[in-house]
């Protein structure tokens, strides 16, 4: 098991390293940050001075020692979660990210819970009553979940429930009811995904020999479903749910922009509009890191649940 986890850990770290390289190249490829920080009338001396402060006078990669190159400095600082100063804000990128992180985590959790409390029962129902109205409703939900553009769903929800009926606020993060629409927008896709997974896992399990045995020896129908079938059917969706959580947290940019939710997604969006590349770099790195950490934890959980992985 430790070999397996060690291998995954090394792979994750390597992935993060390559992502940092990509992020670095993207930011450098977008142009000289000085052209955004200084106005057109800055004299060459000032230009040089800012360049030296930011380390722009150093080579990108080819330097000795290697950590004295621009990429090296970026990497060393990123490892300490220091992404420099934001261009569009007097604070540092880390401060900005820390300030916005809770909102994103809360929204991700809300969407996660939403996707489970709707998706899982619907999946179980439609697997138990195949081709019934529940099953067809489930299929429709799954189809809509895959096909609905998330930003449009959000806007339609705002139009109906915030502007027409005025049940919930149209945007921002205030009371508990301001969570409802963004969470639905963000979680909608995963309602469908959870439903499909649970349904197919349940169908597979219900078709197995040990369920037939349980039925034959006279276990009550609810007992078969809840004790025998569901527990075994939950393993594949459970791992997927871990991945879902990562995707929900890092995929919040659309929902946050539509609802002006003060999280990392909105921060990334405004940073992009203002060409604030240090902030963008920081957010992409933090998101990728979080995604990898969550996946790593899921791997541990999975190995814990499923002995076949632990001993391979």
């Amino acid at each position: 098991m430790y070999r397996f986890l060690l291998r995954r850990l090394v792979a994750s770290l390597f992935t993060l390293l390559v992502i940092s390289l990509l992020v670095f190249l993207l930011a450098r490829g977008s142009g000289d940050p000085r052209s955004l920080m200084l106005d057109d009338y800055a004299d060459p001396g000032q230009w040089e001075e800012v360049g030296a402060k930011l380390g722009l006078d150093k080579p990108w990669f080819a330097a000795w020692p290697p950590w004295d190159s621009q990429y090296g400095i970026f990497l060393v600082n990123a490892a300490r979660l220091d992404f420099g100063n934001a261009i569009s804000d007097p604070r540092t990128v880390s401060e900005l990210i820390l300030e916005r992180l809770p909102a994103t985590l809360q929204l991700g959790m809300a969407a996660f819970i939403f996707s489970i409390i709707i998706g899982v029962p619907l999946g179980i129902l439609s697997s138990l009553k195949r081709n019934s109205i529940w099953d067809n409703m489930g299929k429709l939900v799954a189809l809509l979940g895959q096909s609905m553009p998330p930003f449009w769903l959000g806007i339609m929800l705002i139009f109906l429930f915030a502007l027409r009926f005025e049940w919930v606020p149209p945007s921002g993060r205030q009371d508990w009811n301001s969570f409802i629409l963004p969470a639905i927008t963000l979680g909608w896709f995963f309602v469908a995904a959870n439903m499909r997974l649970i349904r197919s896992a349940m169908l597979e399990v219900l078709d197995s020999e040990y369920i037939k045995l349980a039925r034959a020896k006279g276990v009550s129908p609810p007992g078969v479903v809840w004790k025998h079938a569901l527990r075994n059917a939950l393993i594949p969706p459970l791992t997927f749910m871990g991945v879902t959580l990562g995707l929900l947290i890092t995929g919040s940019i659309v929902a946050e922009t539509v609802f002006q939710w003060p999280g990392l997604g909105l921060l990334a969006y405004t940073a992009l509009i203002r060409s604030d590349y240090p902030t963008l770099q920081g957010i992409v790195m933090v998101f990728s890191g979080m995604y990898l950490i969550i996946n790593f934890l899921v791997d541990i959980l999975y190995a814990y649940i499923d002995p076949r992985i632990r001993y391979s």
Binding site: T15, V18, L26, S147, P149, W152, S200, V258
Partner: protein, 371 residues
């Protein structure tokens, strides 16, 4: 191998009998297929013939037609009490955009110069001010905030969506298939490198990185490329789409390469290139087609998200995503501006999803049970 073929045949048989016994469900499948093929056909025709089908110029509108509602939406009126010959208003005259904008006590008063004068209304009259005129067949789906016909813009937007989807699938699919073939067939370090790359692309926050890339790439100047921005978006997206092809194709190749016919081809002296292109590629083609159709909907959604966030297809060119964004500020007064292009997106993506599912079932009966 014989075992695999046997179970495959068994499952085909099982699903055939299941289909016969559930003719109602079968009818439903038929209907969804008909429905999605109709939408797809309409979409392709629209995209190809946009310049002949669109009633108006999608880029130019008359501000007089700002936010005109769709044909079936009625007028929005507000009742006002006339005091001393004038409505309760601080102005001495009601200024209106159109001559027909005011109805007094049920009968329309024709106005000169868009204003209402003292002679036309008496004190105590109930005045019905038309805040927004009713829709007309002039603009079937209404007009946006710049007075542009939404139907025409949706028709032209179909072209954008389909071009992006086609280019992305062809480019990303080719790269992914090639890398998947190499990775599956060679194994070893090539496999390791390619699969690590796949992992990396899967770990990236997709929308965000695509967004940054689209903005960065948008600044490149490419000479002699028609519709440059559309192709650029497609290239950015294919960077993320190849991964899905590579994974599936690799898995398929891992199974295929142990087959006897591949070994025989090698013994007969076929070159690696020949084995890859002539013996393995046709074998994975089904998978490529299935992944390709299913990814079309993903690509269209991604493009619309980028356009919605303002990093996709730039404003004057109509793209469905940016059209939805246009209507955000007028939701309360003109809901149709956001709704109509979103519906077009929803129907299109749904059609591609249904067709993708259907093709998967048709080409690969083994997958049918997993649904």
């Amino acid at each position: 191998m014989a075992g695999a073929a046997e179970t495959r045949q068994l499952e085909v048989g099982r699903s055939l009998t299941a289909g016969a016994s559930l003719s109602l469900q079968w009818l439903g499948r038929r209907f969804t297929l008909f429905f999605s093929l109709t939408i797809l056909g309409a979409l392709v025709v629209t995209a190809v013939m946009a310049q002949w089908m669109a009633p108006y110029d999608p880029r130019r509108g008359d501000l007089d037609d700002k936010n005109t509602p769709p044909a079936w939406v009625g007028a929005l009126t507000m009742e006002r009490q006339v005091v001393d010959g004038f409505p309760e208003d601080e102005n001495t005259q009601i200024s209106v955009n159109r001559a027909s904008n005011l109805a007094v006590s049920g009968k329309v008063v024709s106005l000169s110069g868009g204003t209402l004068t003292r002679e036309q209304v008496a004190a105590g009259d109930q005045v019905l001010e038309v805040i927004r005129p009713a829709g007309s067949t002039e603009f079937l789906l209404g007009a946006d905030d710049q007075g542009r016909d939404l139907l025409s813009r949706i028709i032209w937007g179909a072209r954008v969506s389909l071009i992006v989807a086609a280019v992305t699938i062809v480019v990303g699919g080719s790269i992914g298939t090639a890398l998947g073939l190499v990775s599956g067939y060679y194994g070893g370090w090539a496999d390791e490198v390619i699969m690590r790359m796949v992992d990396i692309f899967l770990a990236l926050p997709l929308v965000m990185v695509a967004l940054v890339l689209a903005v960065v790439v948008g600044t490149f100047s490419v000479p002699y490329l028609p519709m440059k921005e559309i192709h650029m978006i497609a290239l950015v997206l294919s960077l993320f789409i190849w991964v899905r092809f590579a994974r599936q194709v690799r898995g398929e190749v891992l199974g295929l390469k142990t087959m006897d016919y591949v070994a025989l081809a090698r013994v007969a002296g076929a070159s690696t290139r020949r084995i890859l292109l002539v013996h393995l590629l046709p074998g994975v083609m089904n998978t490529v087609i299935v992944v390709g159709t299913l990814q079309v909907s993903v690509v269209i959604l991604l493009e619309s998200i980028l356009s919605f966030l303002g990093a996709g297809v730039a404003p004057p060119t109509p793209a469905w995503g940016s059209m939805v964004a246009d209507g955000r500020d007028f939701l309360k007064t003109a809901w149709w501006v956001s709704t109509m292009p979103g519906l077009a997106l929803l129907l299109t993506v749904m059609a591609f999803n249904l067709i993708g599912d259907w093709i998967r079932d048709a080409l690969d009966p083994r997958l049918r049970q997993q649904r």
